[in-house]
């Protein structure tokens, strides 16, 4: 009997707005029922200010249609807007993707003219990228060898991605949607340098490796992308 008495939906007011806890042990239908009831209980007038709501699901996972039902009930005929819906459960598929994106994959080969090497996550290439060859990665690119071709880091749009090479003399460096190319005059290339996007100048710069530690502190953390989500 105590089960029935237990509140499935709890609301708490904070200074940022309203937090709505939904119990994660009952069935979804029950929770929805009670939520609907609670919502109908208090219909604010249209003149009242809009309140931001954070929904916390606990260890409950919602499918897309359940999610839209939930959103509909909370926002319909109410002065609520949903700020976030948080769940402590992450689908396996998503975790796999996160893991893949944060993994460093080591390759040992020469990427020759005309060849393309694509990696999901970070690429650690032990070998050269020859002129006309191309390496791409969704994360960062580390090359222990000569980079003479094209390297494209953060291919899905990650501007924080960077490119490191033992010997850097690339045809092009690309990071997210930025492209920089080698100068028209013959250049000798540089040793142990990195390429990254400079936000102020809004372009790719090449600098000494030491600069990385100041500019991209997050590389020391393993789960950086998990955290950035």
């Amino acid at each position: 009997m105590t089960q029935d008495k237990k509140q499935l939906i709890t609301m708490k007011g904070t200074k940022d707005g309203l937090t709505l806890f939904i119990d994660d042990t009952c069935s979804f239908d029950k929770a929805i029922q009670e939520l609907e009831y609670k919502m109908n209980e208090s219909r604010p007038a249209n003149t009242e200010p809009v309140v931001a709501v954070r929904v916390k699901l606990g260890y409950r996972f919602l499918k897309d249609d359940q999610m839209s039902l939930l959103k509909k009930i909370i926002t319909a005929e109410n002065r609520f807007t949903i700020q976030t819906i948080e769940s402590d459960v992450v689908p396996r598929e998503e975790v796999r993707k996160w893991q893949e994106n944060s993994e460093i994959k080591a390759m040992n080969r020469i990427v020759r003219s005309g060849q393309v090497l694509h990696i999901t996550g970070d690429l650690l290439l032990i070998g050269d990228v020859n002129p006309g060859g191309k390496v791409t990665a969704t994360g960062n690119i580390f090359i222990m060898g000569n980079l003479r071709g094209i390297a494209h880091a953060g291919i899905d749009g990650d501007k924080q991605a960077f490119i490191v090479a033992s010997y850097m003399n690339p045809m092009q460096l690309r990071i997210a949607h930025y492209i920089s190319r080698a100068p028209d005059y013959e250049s000798d290339g540089v040793y142990m340098e990195c390429g990254l996007v400079d936000e102020e100048k809004d372009k790719i710069i090449i600098d000494r490796l030491q600069v990385l530690s100041q500019r991209r502190r997050e590389i020391n953390r393993f789960e950086r992308r998990m955290l950035n989500g």
Binding site: R112, S113, Q115, P131, G132
Partner: protein, 266 residues
């Protein structure tokens, strides 16, 4: 059982045909049984360089389409009994040559010959695929020019995907010593650093090569020039000998060196 070596480059005009003719000749000089195959259908040259143009009756397409036996199509060289040429077709449709057909021909020739040297057409299309289909080993020819090195790199990438006995080896052709010294041309180390495969020989740009091929006599036949010695050295390296790289500087004692070279051989 012989071994089949394909001579390829990707880019045209770097000296595939010349290299094929000369390596073949140099191997024949060392008493090996050698068969050259020209796979550049429609643009055959190897017969001209070898001076065997007017002896062609049947060609490789005739063999594949079974209009003649393989032995009938082989042309015996003027100078060596053990050197033969299987010429390319000049007019036939090149689509009739397949990788499968090439493998059959090469396998048959391997029974009879020590070395089968395959002259590959330029490019990376079907002709290239056919040429490398039957080969056990590959030699990539490049010149010290950027475009040529780039194409050689591409070709090496493609060859690495094939299952060959060993990684391809490199011939750097048409070296002009004075330009290399001035830095106007890529030097040998630069080329090797990019391609990172083993070097099997360097050949300087020599007027004699052009003179000789116009005469229909490969330059390696007569040891009168540096290029000739270079090709002979390549042949010796194919046979497994360790031969130091030729010095590029032309000095007074060049004749001396050639004499010394012959002294070593006999």
């Amino acid at each position: 059982m012989g071994e089949a070596i394909v001579i390829t480059s990707g880019k045209g005009g770097v000296g595939k045909t010349t290299t094929t003719a000369n390596i073949g000749t140099a191997l024949a000089l060392m008493d090996k049984k050698v068969c050259l195959i020209d796979t550049d259908i429609g643009l055959r040259n190897l017969d001209v360089v070898m001076g065997l143009e007017n002896r062609i009756i049947y060609d490789i397409v005739d063999v594949i389409e079974e209009r003649c036996k393989l032995k009938q199509a082989l042309i015996k060289d003027k100078r060596f009994d053990y050197l033969s040429l299987l010429p390319a077709a000049q007019t036939s449709d090149k689509t009739s040559v397949t990788a499968d057909g090439m493998q059959r021909i090469v396998a048959e020739l391997k029974q009879e010959y020590d070395y089968i040297i395959i002259d590959c057409p330029a490019g990376i299309e079907q002709g290239f695929q056919n040429a490398i289909a039957g080969a056990d080993k590959a030699i990539v020819v490049t010149t010290p020019e950027k475009s040529s090195v780039r194409d050689a790199d591409r070709i090496i990438g493609l060859l690495e995907k094939e299952e060959m006995e060993e990684p391809p080896r490199l011939v750097i052709n048409r070296i002009r010593n004075h330009m290399m010294k001035n830095g106007d041309m890529l030097d040998i180390d630069e080329v090797l650093q990019i391609l990172s495969i083993d070097l099997i020989g360097i050949v300087i740009d020599d007027d004699e090569v052009i003179k000789a091929s116009n005469k229909g006599e490969p330059v390696a036949y007569k040891p009168s020039s540096k290029a000739s010695i270079a090709y002979r050295n390549i042949a010796r390296r194919i046979l497994g000998e360790t031969v130091p790289l030729q010095s590029l500087d032309t000095e007074k004692g060049m004749m001396q060196k050639i004499k010394q070279f012959f002294g070593m051989r006999s």
